[in-house]
Structure formats: C-alpha cells, structure tokens
Symmetry: C2
Subunit: 325 residues, 2 copies
C-alpha cells in the first residue's frame, strides 16, 4: 500500500490517515496490519490508567517532555471509551499538550469508543502497531481505568502505570481490583494535596500483601505533574521495569502471549459476529424467539429446547461454516 | 426448590442466599430462574447511573425513603464493576443506607464484578428477577455509568435516571454519549454548588436537539439529595415516565425486547464460551497458534489460512455442535 510506504518513510500525515482507517475498522484494515507487521515490535509500550480526575493527561504531557529530552520519539494514544466526540472530548487535553503538537517527534491521537462491543481494544492494538511501525520509541496509552474494556486495552502494553490521587486513601477499599493487580508502577499524583504519604504507605502495604513475583517490586511513587515534580523518577521506574522484564526474558514471553491472545480474540470475534448475524436472520429460530417474547417460557427453558432441536443446531453450524469461508 | 418456595413466602434470608447463588453463576442458576420466572414481571425497575462522585447512593437512599412513605417495597442493587470486594466496596454506601437496613420493606444488595466478560449484566438481570419474584414493588439499580457493561445493565430497566453534578457543565463535551442517549430523567444533584442552573439549561438544549420521541419529554431536574431536596419531584417524574410508557403500550414492548435480548445474549454467550474452550484445547489449531507466537505471520494472515483450512473449520463446527448438546 502506498500509504503504508509513505508512513514507513516518516510521513506523519500518512500515519494519521492510516490510524483513521484502522480506528474505523475500514475494509483496508487487514491489508494495513499485514503490511506493517514486519516493521513492528520495536517500540516500548507504556499504559497509563487510573480513575478519572487523576491528572493522567498532565502526567503524560510531562513524561513526554522527559522522554523527548532523552532523545526518544513518542506516540500517544488517549482512549476515552465514554466520549461521544472522537475529537472534541479530548480538546482540553490537546490544548494542554499543545507544546508537543509542534514537535514532529511526538504523535498524539485521541480515540473515542466505537459502537461495537469488544471493538475498542482491537482498534487500539491496531493503532499501537501503526505507531510502532512508524518508528516511535515509546508509545504511551492512556485509559480511564474502569471496566473490562480498559483492562483489555492494558493487555497490549509492556508496563502499566496506575495513577491515583491522595483522596483515594479515603476509599482504599474501592480501589479498582483490576488496577491493583495489573499495576507495575503506582503514582500518587497531585501529592501537594494532603494524604499522599498515607496513601503511598497503604498502597505499599497492599502491594506487599499481593506480592505476585519476586523479580519486580511494584513501587508506589508520589508526583505533582502540574509542577513537574516526580516525573524523572517515574521515567526511571518505567525504564527499570523494562530492564527487569528484558533480563528475565519476560518481555518476549509477554509479547508471545499478546500475539496469541490477539489471534484467539480475533477468531472469537469473527465467530461471534457471524453467529449473531445468523441468530438475527431468524429462520427456524423465530419460533423460539416468539415463545420468549410472549413470556411463555424463560430463556433457560428455551435454551434447553434448542439443545434438543438437532435440526436447528445443525443448520446453525452448517451456516456458520459456510459464512466463515 | 425449597429455597425458592421460602423466598416466595417472603423469607429475606432465602432471597439473600438465592441472590448469592445467581451472582456466583452457581449450577443451580437455571433451575432458580426457571422456577421464579412465572412470578416475575410485576416490579417496576429504575436504573440510576452517572459518573462517579455524583452522590447516586445518597439519592437512592432518599428516594427509597420517599418510596417507603408511599407504602412501596424496594429492592436495591448497587453494581460496582470495578470493586474487588463484593461486600467491602459498598461499605460506605451500606452505612449511609443504614436507616433502611432495619426496614424489612427494603432489600439492599451490592454486587461487584465477576471475572467473566459480559457476565455482570447477566447476573444483574438474574438478581432483578429474584427481587421481582420476591415481590418488591420498585427495584432500583445503581451503576457507575462508564462503559459498555453499564449500558448493558441499563438495558434491563424500565426508567433510566442519569445523575450529574454541576461541575459536569465545565466539560459538557465529555458527557457520556451513552448516558445522553439512554437517560429518561436527568438530575443535577448537589445543586447547592454553583453552576447547577447552567447545566440544566445546557442539558435541556442538548435534550431538545436529540429529541428522539414526542411522547416523553426528557426532564432535567435539580436536587440536593444530602439535604433531601428535589427527591419527591424526582419520584413524580419517574412515575410519570412509567405512566407514559404504559399508556403508549411501550412498557410491554420494552419487556418483550428485553426478553428477546436475554435469549439471544444467552445463546451468544453459550456458543462463544464453548468455542473458546475448543480454541484453547488446541488440536489442529496449535500449529496456527505457534506461527503467531513466533511472530512469523500477523493474525490476519493466519486467519485467512484458517478460512481455507476446511478440515479445521469442519472439526470446530462438529465439536461445537456436540459440545452444545
């Protein structure tokens, strides 16, 4: 593809257009991914997540400045799965990150939710691959960490930074379970507010309890992104985690697992979407739908009847096989 | 089932135990749902959603007090899909709702996320059915409205109340798309803070633009749940929406659609989970997995090879048919 060639030749506009295609799941997507695939695997991918209001965008902005000073190029993917306006929602962030907009070493992209369930993690993975192929040294992926979609997105990154604010200490029980388990580095941002040290102590106690491995001790740092405090240390910890992953051979392992998951997820999605098309066609299935619509039988009982309806099951499977081809 | 008989005889302990079984997706779940099904469909189900920090729990607490004064029994399902501690997370809410804990006309249940993707909306639907069969007049379902899971849960309710705070006005663009579309009643809570009237005006402008039907004009109210202000009016608007739905014949239609979706979702889940078991078994599929693991080919190219592998496809479909039975 010409657009891919242009992107590989550092054309930022081509990169932007390819991202738009992948984000929209355009028909060219498989072709795009195939042609960039041999050029991927070189970027280091860092996820930044946490509850809303933690100052993640500012933190990413300052971290980007640190990375640029080290001479590294940066790709930023800001994911807001709840936003209606793929562009508009991130306007505030864009303005805050304006200093980097004039820097050709930084590429920023905001992504909003696409309707289809499970679609967002897939398109984010595609965008990460594009930034990777485009030669960005570091890719920062920002999500608002609440829910399965965000956890799925974080499966595609190498190091996960969880950003909290001191007030989280009041509700330490409500700390997102997924977040506690997936975090490789914790940052208590806005640490000039009271309670930061307490939260760090609580986090350390919890992290110590949940110790999942001996090769990496999950750190809990403080930062004041708005005042540019603690960012250099955050960078160092991310880099240490990168080193630790590499030394233990875990980075290769992680990426192997990511590729496997990508394939099985893709197959699962294809089968599921084909099957839901079949179901919606109705056919033999219509009479079961009607029983449930009228409230005559509960869904479980109808399912049991379907299980014994060999004709319907066989028809579904035959059709599925045909449709997949 | 004895437990079901006890629950139908108003045994609150039996209800609690049944909810636990359904929440855990215990093997008894189909049997439970089947036996309560004929007793469901009488409750009116109200969803309360919105971003975190909107004071939804306090609002529900005060709304419950209003409902109790009208002589209605209430079931409350508080869903926190991000919480690690099915009990603990809601401790604060439980304490706040303590006044209702001694009231046998109110049944409160907190639910946290279950690991499986897509599992939470299903179990919440089951819990709603249990509260319905147990004879609660009104069921209030609280979610933190960010993401697909919460939107899926809200598909199971009759009236959706979206709770915002005045500060949301600053970031009206970031207002959750799903929320704007699904809300039947909007409440700007904590209206003693500045900006409430502005937000109401903005909401009304947006709602007017998005006018989806003529039979119900979505209202935007203000409230101060903590000071017990605006709750009676909220109740009246919920009741008006209920009446409007009923008069237009839309309540029956809505519930028909809900039952259909329930069946198709259930079938989709069964097929998908069986299929992912098949994939994980490996077999013929193993060599494709290995190609991807080694990074030799991208997932799209592997998928194309699979499509032409008639043996693998046929084996999958045959096994799927067998496994479903």
């Amino acid at each position: 593809m010409e657009l891919v060639e242009q992107m590989l030749g550092s054309d930022q506009l081509a990169l932007a257009r390819l991202i738009t295609l992948v984000e929209r799941e355009a028909s060219e997507t498989p072709q795009i991914i195939k042609s960039i695939y041999p050029h991927t695997g070189k970027s280091y991918v860092v996820g930044v997540t946490g509850p809303p209001g933690g100052g993640k965008s500012t933190l990413i902005d300052r971290l980007t400045a640190v990375l640029r000073r080290k001479g590294l190029t940066v790709g930023i993917v800001a994911v807001d799965p709840t936003s209606p306006f793929s562009g508009g929602a991130m306007l505030g962030d864009r303005i805050r990150m304006q200093q980097h907009y004039l820097d050709s070493g930084v590429f920023i992209r905001s992504m909003a939710t696409r309707g289809s369930q499970g679609g967002l993690p897939r398109t984010v993975r595609g965008v990460i691959k594009l930034l990777d192929a485009a030669g960005k040294d570091i890719i920062l992926v920002e999500t608002v960490g609440v829910g399965q979609t965000e956890l799925d997105i974080m499966e595609a990154v190498d190091t996960i930074v969880v950003v909290l604010v001191p007030e989280a200490g009041d509700t330490i029980q409500t700390l997102k379970a997924g977040l506690m388990e997936i975090g490789d580095v914790f940052v208590v941002n806005k640490a000039d507010r009271g309670g930061a040290e307490n939260l760090v102590a609580e986090l350390e106690a919890m992290l110590h309890q949940n110790l999942k491995q001996t090769w990496w001790e999950v750190p809990a740092l403080t930062a004041q992104a708005a005042n540019d405090i603690g960012i250099e240390e955050l960078y160092e910890r991310i880099e240490s985690h990168h080193q630790a992953l590499q030394q233990m051979g875990k980075l290769d392992l992680k990426r192997c697992e990511q590729r496997k998951k990508e394939l099985t997820n893709m197959i699962g999605t294809k089968i599921t979407s084909k099957f839901s098309e079949l179901i919606n066609e109705g056919g033999e299935f219509t009479r079961y739908l009607e029983i449930v619509e009228r409230g005559e039988l509960d869904p479980y009982s109808v399912w049991e009847e379907i299980i014994y309806d060999r004709v319907l099951l066989r028809t579904w499977m035959r059709r599925l096989e045909e449709e997949i081809r």
